[in-house]
């Protein structure tokens, strides 16, 4: 599968024919959707919390510059250092600098979509440093040389058999006759291997679900505990986060945390929610000696300026893609970049440009399920429509579509002409269909009739029949 949003159509075509992907994605529908519904039903205040969560994010975005200033002040006061990185290249360079300065050979990593966004792993590898993904799903896709296909369940597109095959191929130092039949055995094997990597790492890099201005802290949320082993064991802890992750206070973070796990996996709370603030203190017995925060812009201040600001509310729960029928049909890799699903359709054009990612906001029926489950009420279909408007303004919409639309609008704004044309069309199509009442094929309508019959018109338009009825009634 081609890892570029430009290849979306081809990727989607291949994806819907992939039976193994279909099997894997079936778990998404049953698992995530059902579990979220249960968690929501259990908490009467859930919907009110979504409103509160949205309000916190909206307020913070409205004051983002000021909260980031206060955040940096606090990080510095607690012994940490903030690195402001306008671009992905700046962020890669900042991370590499730190790693080189401390002579790092191995870097363990907690799950971070930002690190995917800036292609950090490739950069470290190219510079002789080995990055080791420690989130089990990320570890698995790293073995396969793939991107994650979901923002919280990176290996959701894989069945157990594929994972077993990868482990056997990559963990060649282990006895080949060992059993890896059960998921439990795969987890055990990964635990053992990654345990050694945790202990040997020189630098640990985590993402951040939230940055807290009040205390200069970063918050990560995991179930495995890998993020904690990543940050507590090595000499250096690097947090890599985008600007819009900041929230004002611990109380604000709490409101968001109350909706995060419930929206993501249907858990009441993730197993490990960790608030990290600065390096180890003078009398601490463990913990990193250095704490760095890489603050990435990479297009977000631009999104803040325009119609797409609301997309910056995202708290990376994944509920939108869990409920998206398009995602269910094609999986995450078809989107071709870091962020799949509805949030991917909105963010990707903002970060890499609408020319690159044009198909993403178009491949939606606007069914609205994403917005209905988004914990911070991002109006995702509206944002996708805004992207379509941008495309239309810039003449990126296919010419046939523009022409067809132009013709439609021309006719529709001339009702009498419209009624004549539609009257003809109704008769013609009805005649073609004959007694069958439907057409198996129709020139120019291959997109439809390739996979479904086209019901024929009844033969006359409503307006024609209504006028005839009124003439008979003398009205």
């Amino acid at each position: 599968m081609d890892s570029s949003p430009r290849a979306f159509k081809a990727n989607a075509r291949a994806a819907v024919k992939d039976p193994q992907l279909k099997r894997a994605l079936a778990h998404v529908k049953v698992g995530f959707i059902g579990k979220r519904a249960k968690a929501v039903a259990r908490l009467p205040e859930f919907d009110a919390l979504r409103d509160a969560a949205r309000d916190i994010k909206v307020h913070t975005l409205d004051h983002l510059d000021l909260y980031l200033e206060r955040y940096e002040e606090r990080v510095t006061a607690q012994g940490g250092q903030v690195h402001w990185c306008p671009s992905a290249a700046d962020a890669r360079a900042a991370v590499l600098d730190i790693c080189r300065r401390v002579g790092a050979k191995t870097v363990t990593k907690g799950k971070s979509m930002i690190s995917e966004e800036i292609d950090l792993n490739q950069h470290l590898e190219a510079n002789g440093i080995t990055p080791v993904e420690t989130d089990l799903g990320e570890y698995i896709v790293q073995l396969r040389g793939e991107r994650p296909s979901h923002i919280i369940a990176p290996a959701v597109h894989l069945t157990k058999d594929l994972i077993e095959a990868d482990f056997r191929a990559q963990h060649s130092h282990l006895p080949p006759e060992r059993s890896l039949e059960e998921p439990r055995e795969l987890v055990e094997e990964a635990r053992g291997i990654l345990r050694e990597r945790f202990l040997a790492a020189d630098v640990g890099i985590t993402g951040a679900n939230f940055l807290v201005a009040e205390t200069g802290s970063s918050i990560i949320v995991t179930n495995e505990g890998n993020g904690d082993l990543t940050q507590a064991l090595p000499r250096v802890h690097i947090v890599i986060a985008s600007l819009e992750k900041v929230v004002p206070t611990l109380e604000d973070a709490t409101t968001l945390l109350r909706v995060l796990a419930r929206s993501a996996t249907g858990q009441e709370f993730s197993t490990y929610t960790t608030v990290s603030t600065g390096p180890r203190r003078a009398r601490d017995l463990d913990g990193p000696e250095e704490y760095h925060v890489i603050l990435l812009d990479n297009g977000r201040s631009e999104m803040l300026a325009g119609q797409f600001r609301d997309a910056l509310r995202c708290i990376r729960c994944g509920a939108c893609m869990n409920h998206c029928p398009v995602y269910h049909a094609i999986g995450g890799h078809a989107y071709g970049w870091v962020y799949p699903g509805p949030i991917g359709a909105v963010l990707t054009p903002g970060l890499i440009g609408i020319e690159e990612a044009g198909d993403l906001p178009n491949a939606s029926t606007f069914c609205g399920r994403c917005e209905a489950v988004c914990p911070v009420r991002i109006p995702l279909p509206k944002m996708m429509r805004h992207w379509r408007e941008r495309e239309f303004e810039r003449h990126l919409t296919p010419r046939a579509v523009r022409a067809g639309l132009g013709l439609w609008a021309f006719l529709a704004s001339r009702p009498e002409l419209y009624h004549r044309v539609t009257g003809l069309a109704a008769r013609l199509l009805a005649a073609l269909a004959g007694r069958k009442g439907r057409l198996r094929s129709l020139p120019l309508a291959g997109g439809w009739t390739g996979v479904r019959d086209l019901p024929a018109p009844q033969g006359r338009t409503f307006h024609a029949l209504w006028a005839a009825r009124n003439r008979r009634a003398g009205t």
Binding site: E224, G225, E251, V275, A305
Partner: protein, 234 residues
């Protein structure tokens, strides 16, 4: 990186249409006030049940998330309870103890079989014993804070993490936990790591089925000390 900072802040200020001094000052005041107030948002009813009910809810929620809980009458009962735990789980009688005087001064002599070492965890440790700052009843969540008496690695490296939690430490909602931390560390200040822990480590990355013991502890055992009359107190 100040060129980077200037570039980003410039972009943000443009995006937010900053410039007019009066509105800027008003915005700053809004931010200052919100940070100083650290006001609570909507706290679910479940986090506001009477203290008497909080301990029971804490236990129920923790157990639901696959922690195990044993209630003991007093702190002095901890060594014996730990010995029972090790035996029941068929674990070697070795313990990595948090260097907290409160825990170190317990009657460990009554369990001479247990080999005790204190300090941060080593990769080979099987069992750790730590205290906690609070237990949040809302979701059965332990609140631990790093410090000289509480190295973080004890919470994550060993296969088994045993936590001594007093009933008097149980609170209703996470916000109560933050208040406790502010009492200890002051406002705007936190220790290096505050861990909110709900059950043992787990993953669902393989076909969406939950497996316990991913990277962190396989088992989380809570020794709940009933140090209050009604089971909860100030």
């Amino acid at each position: 990186m100040s060129a980077g900072r200037d570039a980003i802040m410039g972009g943000l200020r443009r995006a937010l249409k900053r410039g007019a001094e009066a509105t800027d000052a008003a915005a700053r005041q809004t931010v200052d006030r919100r940070l100083d107030a650290a006001a609570r948002g909507l706290v679910p009813a479940r986090g506001q049940i009477p203290p008497a009910a909080q301990v029971d809810l804490f236990e129920a929620m923790a157990v639901e998330q696959a922690a195990t809980v044993t209630r003991i009458a007093s702190l002095e009962a901890v060594p014996a309870a730990l010995a029972d735990y090790l035996k029941a789980a068929n674990l070697a009688p070795k313990l990595r103890l948090a260097p907290s005087p409160e825990l170190q001064n317990l009657p460990w002599d009554s369990q001479p079989m247990i080999e005790i070492e204190t300090g941060p965890a080593q990769g080979s440790d099987q069992v750790s014993l730590t205290g906690a700052v609070a237990g949040v009843a809302e979701t059965g969540t332990l609140l631990l804070a790093s410090g000289p008496e509480a190295p973080t690695t004890l919470n994550f490296l060993p296969d088994n993490h045993v936590v001594v939690l007093k009933a008097s430490q149980v609170v209703g909602a996470y916000e109560d936990g933050w208040d406790r931390l502010r009492e200890i560390y002051g406002r705007g200040s936190l220790p290096r790591a505050v861990n909110l822990i709900t059950g043992p480590s787990r993953t669902a990355d393989i076909e969406q089925t939950i497996q316990l013991g991913a990277h962190g502890p396989r088992r989380l055992h809570i020794l709940l000390v009933e140090d209050t009359e009604s089971g909860n107190g100030a």
